[in-house]
Structure formats: C-alpha cells, structure tokens
C-alpha cells in the first residue's frame, strides 16, 4: 500500500483529460467497435449452452421458410409437370380435305399458347382403332374409311384452366372443325388443389416470418434484461447510449450470422434428404423432371440477411430497453 502522496501529475486534471479524449476520437471509436465485436463473441462463447439454444431456435425459424421455398419450388415444378395440360383432340368435319387439315394445323401451331400440333389422317385413326382388339374385325369389314382428320393440339406447359378454356373455345370456333374434346374438369380440380396449397403456404410463411422476428427480438431482449445491472454501471460511469448498445448490436449480428449459417445447413440437409424421393418421381416421369435446388447466391444471402435481421432486432429492442435505463 502506498496510500498517499504520489498524487496525479501537477497539471490540472481537466486539461489533461481533454487532451487525451479529444486527440483520438476516431481511433478510440474504431477500437471500441473492435472490442465490442470481440467481447460480444466472447460472451456468447462463455455460455455455450445458452448460445447454442438461441442459435438453434433462430436457425430453425429461418430454416423453415427456406425449406418451404425449396419444397414449394419443387412441388410447383412437379405440379406443372403433373398438370401438363392434356392434349386437346380437334375433330374436323368428315369430308374436309387433307389440305384444309394441314392449313389448320399450321394456323393453330402458330398460336402462342400451343406447344405442338399433330395431324392424324383418317388412315392413322383407322390403324389406331384397329389395334384396339374387339374393333379390328368390325372395322376391317368397312370398305370406306368414315373417320375424319384429327388434330392433336398440345397446349403450352403452365397454362391454367381458364387459358386452356379460351384455347378450346377458339379451336371450336375455327371453320371446318366438327368437335373439340378436352378434359377440362380434371384441370379444374388440380387448379383448386393448387389454390389450397398456395393459400396454406402463404399462411405458413407468414407465421414463420413472424416467429423468426419474435425469436430474434426475444433473445436480444432477454440478453439486455439479464445485463441490466451492467448497463446501469456503464451509464453511471459516463458511457453514452451508443457505447452501451454496441456490444448488443454485435451480439445480434453474431446470433443472426450463426443462425443463418445453421439455416442454410439445415436446408441443404433437407434438399439432400429429398433427393431420393425426387429421383423416384423423376423416374416415374421418364427422367424428364429437373430437380430444383437452392440457388448458390441464396446460400450466401441468407446468413447475411440473417445478420442484418439480428442487428435490426437488437437495435429495436435495445432502443426500447435502454429508454427504461437511467
């Protein structure tokens, strides 16, 4: 103990203090940012169980919308493929010559909502019909071919029921067309089903976005509340609000970043575990189905967006909590 007379240097304390504090505001500000980032990280590391829980909850909340994005993308894919509009049969009036049929085929094939048009001659129709057992004998006994020309019109993929309805109406109105055969009711059912799915996904996405927001906010709120005493001390020794708040903002950023990374990992896990059934499905479609994965930019964007979200949550809650402090 050396309790007495090595008193502070002879100059006035005020003068000295200001000499230091005014000389290097930027350096000290930068230094405190670095310190805050490191200190908040160290605090998270100091209670690994709690940090892990928080990151897990946040990560799951973020992973769920991501997984939905993935699933919805693939299901729409599948739905589009499954719901590929069935071909429409256009029966020309009996007796229309082949030239008219070819003209009509060309004309229809130029429509923007039509993918392909296949022309079936009466002979081809007869051949098909003869292949169906039970008819062969009967038809072979006909000397004249009574069948008309038929155009098999394949609508573009992704047309909805209304658009297909329009197409059908247009085809029906064409000169020389006797009858148009489509399977509208099936298409209507699928669209209604997809309508339910869309609504459901929308609701779930809303709930999940809310959950993610709540988790971030709640975590930071609790973090600050549990450090009320520390904040009080900092304010008492003259720390500004920005100074006090900085480590919490960094904590928010860290939480967000880690949660975002976790979310991406979980989504990749889901993608990987879906690979099996999707391949199976792809096989059922004769290998024509592309499997939609997460785009690479998303893998980077999600952690960054999550970090921004964490920062925002921390900022909102800390502003609110610190208003209550002295």
């Amino acid at each position: 103990m050396n309790a007495s007379v090595e008193t502070p240097a002879g100059e006035a304390p005020e003068a000295e203090r200001s000499r230091h504090s005014r000389a290097r505001p930027v350096a000290s500000w930068r230094e405190h940012h670095g310190w805050s980032a490191a200190a908040s990280l160290r605090r998270l590391a100091a209670r690994p169980f709690g940090t892990l829980l928080t990151v897990a909850v946040m990560g799951l909340a973020l992973a769920l919308p991501l997984t939905f994005y993935l699933l919805l993308g693939n299901v729409q894919h599948l739905g589009d493929a499954l719901g590929r509009n069935p071909a429409i049969g256009v029966f020309l009036q009996p007796g229309q010559p082949g030239a008219t049929a070819q003209l009509l085929a060309k004309q229809i094939g130029e429509r923007p909502d039509v993918a392909t048009v296949t022309l079936k001659t009466p002979q081809q129709g007869m051949d098909e019909l003869s292949k169906m057992q039970g008819f062969s004998d009967a038809l072979r006994s006909l000397d004249d071919n009574p069948l008309p020309y038929v155009l098999v019109v394949q609508p573009k993929d992704g047309l909805d029921a209304t658009a297909v309805g329009h197409l059908t109406d247009d085809l029906r109105a064409l000169h020389g067309v006797d009858m148009v055969q489509d399977s509208g009711s099936w298409r209507q059912r699928l669209d209604a089903l997809l309508g339910v799915g869309d609504r459901a996904v929308l609701i779930l996405a809303g709930l999940l976005a809310l959950a993610a927001l709540l988790v971030v906010g709640n975590t930071v709120r609790v973090d600050i509340a549990s450090r009320a005493e520390e904040i009080g001390v900092l304010m008492l020794v003259g720390a500004s609000r920005a100074f006090v708040r900085r480590p919490y903002l960094y904590a928010g950023i860290w939480y967000g970043l880690f949660s975002g990374v976790l979310a991406v990992l979980l989504a990749l896990l889901v993608e990987w575990s879906l690979a099996g059934p999707v391949a199976q499905l792809s096989q059922a479609y004769g290998g024509t189905l592309r499997v939609g994965g997460l785009p690479p930019w998303l893998l980077l964007a999600v952690p960054l967006a999550a970090a921004a979200l964490g920062w925002l949550g921390a900022r909102l809650v800390s502003a609110w909590q610190l208003r209550k402090a002295a």
């Binding site: 309790a3 008193t7 100059e11 304390p13 505001p25 405190h32 020794v237 003259g238």
Partner: protein, 225 residues
C-alpha cells in the same frame, strides 16, 4: 464548484429525502456529508451526478445549471465526475483491471496510457496484485477499493464518494481518506458521504450534517474538533 439552492427531493411514494438544502463547495475544497442512516446523504450525491433530479430548487455545478442538462448530455457530465458508490457497482464478469479501466475506455484514452494509469490507481488502493481477478473473488473491502480506483483513475474534476470506507478497517480507511485529501493539490473538488465520525474528526475537513433531509450543521474545517 458546487452550489445547492433550496434543493428538495421527494421520491415517488416516499417522504421528503432532502428539504430545502442550500450550501456551496468551492473548487478544490474537500467536504464531508454526514448524518444518520436515511438522512439523505446518498440522495444528495445522486443529485450531483444526475442519477436523480431534484423536485425543487437548483443545483449549479462548475457554473452549469444541472436542470439544463438533458438526457443526452448526462454521459458527458458523468465523465467529469468520479464516483464511489455505496454498493460498489462493479462489473462482475470483468477483471479488476477491466473495471478500473472502464472510465478511460469511455473517455477514449489510448491503450498504453490506460494500462499505466490503471496500475497507478490500483497501486494507490493496494490492489496491484489483484489486477487479473474477478470482483467476486475479492473480499467486500477489496471490492470497495476497486470502486475507489475506478473513481480516481480518470482524474476527475469532481470526486464524490458515498461511504467509501464502510467496509474497510480503520487503518485502511485513513489511508484512503488521505488519498482523497491529496487530490486537492491538483484542484479536484472532493465530497464524501460518511457516518464514520471518528474518521471525519481526524481528517479535520469541512462537515455538512444532515438530519431527516435538512441541513442542521455546516462546520468549517477549522472548527472541527
């Protein structure tokens, strides 16, 4: 340096902790505030650091009316004041060194300079060996001394200490008080709340006596016996 002008403080739902208090303390002066438990000593010091606001009256610090300082200006005021709290108020998850360093970090002092000053302050309270420990592993008296080191480390213009020797043995208490008295030489104004009458008598400084929030005596240094 300090002027109280008819200052009263009534806590919400409580009785009047301070009633129409008027006194002045000159720059570089050292004064004691004393009185029974609950007399209003801590309240008086809290008003100076704007931890509480008076319900009536005016306080002027260093020519600046405190009533004019809004919330955003409080940190700046507090950086000019060194304060020893009756309940220490240390950061429990940071080392003794980090606790004492805090006002310097907030004040933006460069790291090397900080280390030098923190060690000088710790040496003055006899805790140089405890630099790396956490506050919980200190005895109460040692914690109190960390609080004292933190209050003096930034060489404040005003030092206010609330019962700074309540957990110290008599010998150490005298040493700390002499440390405070030494600050006079650099122009620091010192205000100490204490109930330790023997110590106050021994120090022979001005004494302000409170009783149920009223100023009942203001004894000049020369008159203390």
């Amino acid at each position: 340096m300090i002027r109280f002008d008819q200052v009263s403080k009534r806590y919400e739902g409580g009785h009047e902790a301070l009633s129409q208090l008027s006194f002045e303390v000159a720059e570089g002066e050292m004064a004691f505030v004393t009185g029974h438990s609950g007399a209003g000593k801590s309240t008086l010091l809290k008003l100076l650091a704007l931890i509480e606001r008076p319900t009536h009256g005016h306080i002027v610090l260093d020519g600046q009316p405190l009533a004019k300082i809004r919330a955003a200006g409080i940190p700046k005021l507090r950086r000019r004041i060194g304060m020893v709290f009756q309940d220490h108020r240390l950061l429990l998850d940071r080392s003794v060194f980090a606790n004492v360093e805090l006002p310097l970090v907030i004040g933006g002092i460069a790291p090397q300079e900080r280390g030098r000053r923190v060690r000088a302050a710790l040496e003055k309270v006899g805790l140089l060996d405890y630099e790396r420990q956490l506050p919980v592993s200190l005895s109460t008296g040692e914690q109190q001394r960390v609080g004292i080191a933190r209050a003096i480390v930034a060489r404040p213009a005003l030092l206010i200490a609330d019962e700074p020797t309540g957990n110290l043995d008599p010998q150490l208490a005298v040493e700390i008080m002499e440390l405070f008295a030494g600050f006079r030489q650099v122009g620091t104004t010192v205000l100490v709340a204490s109930h330790d009458l023997p110590l106050i008598k021994r120090m022979r400084k001005r004494v302000v006596v409170l009783d149920h929030g009223r100023l009942v005596a203001d004894v000049a240094a020369e008159e203390v016996l």
